[in-house]
């Protein structure tokens, strides 16, 4: 299928629902199983804020832990922090967010509905307006006679709308008490750079990581958790000596040979947003497509992490930001994009923030935020590469990528082929029946596994129904205790992805599961196949 027809097909699919058929099904699953759902639903709609339910919170915690393990604990060159959501308000003056963190807003002159001017134009005219001015937006609205999508009345001219949520500290509500909910976690890292460096005694290059909530007062939150007003970020600021941005020890032969799906700015200029070519990391750095080696390294490392969580590599590409798209702090940004049912869109951003933030905070605070290079005996301001993830977007993408629907006997059957690291339940344990001591035996087995793996005991409904419930939340393995378990002390182990079953001794279960999760044996080696 050509790029163009593929796009058209996707648009058709998308008509089935706002985000396309598959995405709608995953959203339905999220709502039905209480993974993620709109907050305060009993009080009606409240757009842009979500709660995690019992299944979702375990996925969220697993994803956080997987990220922290990969990017902090398993590395000697990264430490963590956890900064406040409400911090000193001058932080946002220095960072540029007070001045530059805006969206263009238009209002309907009649019904007073508010819209993002750029989104409205993109939706109506199907063109990209990234980086154009308010005046140009107004001209487009006038030229194409765009009206309010709700009541078809005239629209106001575009105004600047700052996306930071405001609040007031203390009893008086005036300018002196004004504060903001952080729109990104990154600034806390910059503000704490000196302290974190001093107490951790890390030398350049090193990184500071953080997971936490951020808030953006989106004019039009939409696409489920993709553009919400409250969300979690997982961010890493990696600080590099300014003369050593190409001095990256991790770009070895093996890494350089890695092949990546790429969409450069040049390709976009020529052929549009949908283009993809495969390139090696070597090509990317040698042809100066990615301008610094450390930037290339963090791109590869990000992709590696996604692969380690089981995302299909063919659904990932990296795309260079066009000049007019770049944030005010960035000289170069590459997005890791996922091939969503509604097209390639950002999953993660990897920006070169240069020395912008540290210099701004040094200027506004009057404090020295430079780093002392003991070798050369001079103070330098590090260059920063920032890989930045939205937690909910990452989680939703993992669900989407793992989602599969089969029709069996005329019934839709859902399987979430989620990586065991993210799965909210790793082992389901069922008694075949509640009676004859099977329930007690199954509970005993469940208890024996609990310390090692997240387990869930389930005795309700037919075995088939219990498998189905586990399949759709991504439980990799299920154990069934039957009459043989009482007589021969064996059990049946079922693999989610193949739906195959093997029989093994109860006493071998824990070790077998450990081996399966570590990948040291395949499922067929786990026991005697059930035919």
């Amino acid at each position: 299928m050509s790029e163009k027809t593929e796009k058209e097909q996707k648009k058709k699919d998308a008509k089935k629902g706002e985000l396309g058929g598959k995405a709608e099904k995953v959203i339905n699953l999220c709502l039905r199983r209480g993974i993620l759902f709109p907050t305060g639903e009993i009080y009606g709609s409240f757009a842009g804020f979500f709660d995690y339910g019992p299944v979702g919170v375990e996925m969220e915690r697993n994803l956080e832990a997987a990220w922290w393990n990969h990017f902090v604990h398993s590395r000697e060159d990264v430490v963590g922090i956890d900064g406040a959501i409400i911090t000193h308000p001058t932080v946002w003056k220095a960072s540029g967010h007070c001045d530059a963190f805006n969206d263009p807003l238009v209002e309907c002159r009649k019904c007073k509905s508010r819209f993002r001017a750029d989104q409205l134009i993109e939706d109506e005219l199907k063109i990209s307006v990234d980086g154009i001015t308010l005046k140009q937006l107004d001209e487009l609205i006038k030229e194409h006679k765009l009206v309010c999508p709700k009541c078809r009345s005239e629209l106001s001219s575009s105004k600047v709308f700052n996306l930071m949520f405001k609040t007031h500290i203390g009893a008086v509500e005036d300018d002196s008490s004004l504060a903001f909910l952080r729109p990104e976690t990154a600034q806390l890292i910059f503000v704490d750079f000196k302290t974190a460096q001093f107490v951790s005694r890390k030398q350049l290059p090193f990184g500071i990581a953080q997971i936490g909530k951020s808030f953006r007062n989106e004019i039009a939150p939409r696409n489920f958790v993709f553009r919400s007003r409250e969300f979690s970020q997982m961010e890493l600021e990696f600080f590099i000596h300014p003369t050593k941005v190409n001095n990256c020890p991790f770009l070895n032969k093996h890494v350089l040979e890695t092949k990546i799906n790429v969409c450069t700015a040049e390709m976009q200029a020529k052929g549009g947003m949908g283009e993809v070519v495969e390139m090696s990391v070597k090509e990317l750095v040698e042809k100066n497509i990615v301008k610094t080696k450390w930037h290339a390294y963090w791109i590869v490392e990000s992709l590696n992490w996604f692969h380690s969580l089981g995302i299909h590599p063919e659904n990932l590409r990296i795309r260079e930001h066009l000049k007019e798209e770049l944030s005010h702090y960035s000289s170069e940004t590459w997005d890791v994009e996922y091939n969503y049912p509604w097209g390639w869109k950002e999953l993660e951003g990897i920006a070169n923030r240069g020395d912008f933030d540290l210099k701004q905070h040094a200027k506004f605070s009057g404090k020295d935020l430079s780093y002392f290079d003991a070798e050369k005996g001079e103070r330098v301001t590090p260059i920063v590469i920032e890989p930045s993830w939205g937690l909910e977007r990452t989680l939703f993408t993992l669900l989407l990528d793992a989602f599969e629907e089969k029709v069996e006997n005329g019934k839709a059957k859902l399987v979430l082929r989620l990586h065991p690291t993210i799965a909210p339940v790793r082992v389901g344990v069922f008694p075949l029946m509640k009676k004859d001591g099977l329930a007690e035996k199954a509970r005993e087995v469940c208890e024996s596994l609990k310390k090692e793996f997240a387990c869930e005991y389930d005795e309700a409904g037919s075995i088939g129904k219990r498998y189905a419930r586990m399949d759709e939340i991504g439980t990799p393995y299920c154990v069934t205790i039957d009459y043989d378990s009482l007589e021969k002390n064996t059990l049946t182990l079922r693999e989610r992805d193949s739906a195959k079953q093997v029989v093994l001794p109860v006493k071998a279960l824990k070790e077998t599961l450990q081996k399966l999760f570590s990948g040291s044996i395949s499922f067929s080696e786990a026991g005697k196949p059930v035919t």
Copy 2:
């Protein structure tokens, strides 16, 4: 020492600093090692908001994980959620927070400084004014001629000040867009009760747990992280059939025999806040001192958890709230109190919230939030017992309880006898020297442990200094690689608490550490003692 002289001694100690000598030292440690410190410090003071640094964030994550493991994962009757910080504003009308979540505020007529009237009176007059009216506060101020502590001018009369931070959703700032930052996580659980119950298929009694940030616009934040404006809560709402509040299967003979330090409302009326007597759980429930058995159970379970983290049991007591102290939603509250350098104060609250919250939300939303009792075929509104912790307060208390200062050769030496579960680093790994391949060997050992335990490699400064650095952040064990390691493949293992050392083979290290952490061997069994 009698209660009274003990109190006086503490007041004397407290004069050394706002919170007493030991607390000040722990705060200094927090600041010096970057555990917890004021946010945005480079921009000057911004009271009531804190950041965790590299060491602190690991303690925070460990504490969260320990809580979640104990109260969610290891139980079949508790599930988790993670709700939004900004939720539907009607939630706070229903919960009573819009009307009743207030502090009394007085203002200096001259310098315009603002104070909490009750705190000001308590500080100046050394009396407790819990639960008295605004009018009574004003009368006390008048009677005792209290003035502004800053400029000694006249104070205004007391006003009601609501502690919720306000913000506006969307582009217009009016009443229709007004929203609040949650002042407690609990309400998200009540609002999600039906969804969480439905998707988890739990039957009464069961609990819903949550960890997350809450915000309170304190008039006068103080005492380091004890009264801050942004903090994390760990809350559990346990839902019980209204006719079965005394039907608790966990109150077995062993639990009933447990002895607890108690301060009842009656004791407070007679002898003051400092009284403590030891009682068994049996006494507490049989004499109806704690009114319901499930309440008694959650008190014991909370204490058990603190004990499992190594808090000295003699520093804990439970204290009953006086009638006038009770929150608007509570019929009975017991605090777990810690014996701080400044006296017994709340560490955790355990409230009986009755059916207040579910009924309020049912009333305000018009939705049925009752539970269907299949056995009796009727709908009931559950009774709720709520154990609620502040994460930062718990962490600070753990640090305080674990803190010890010794003077060795005229130098102060700090040891944090932190439980290994909370310790930010579990194993420190040092080469005796950097040269002769010792550093490489030590790094190799560190790598081999990393997957299992949080490790830190350190080669800077003398071995003594490295031990000291590890001791003060609570690292339970340190490994030193010396010349014997190269020749005989042995290493030296040092225990933080005894400062004793043993020699063991490198290849036995991982298993030895596992045994030490699980408590299956003592340190003297870990190797050959170094004399």
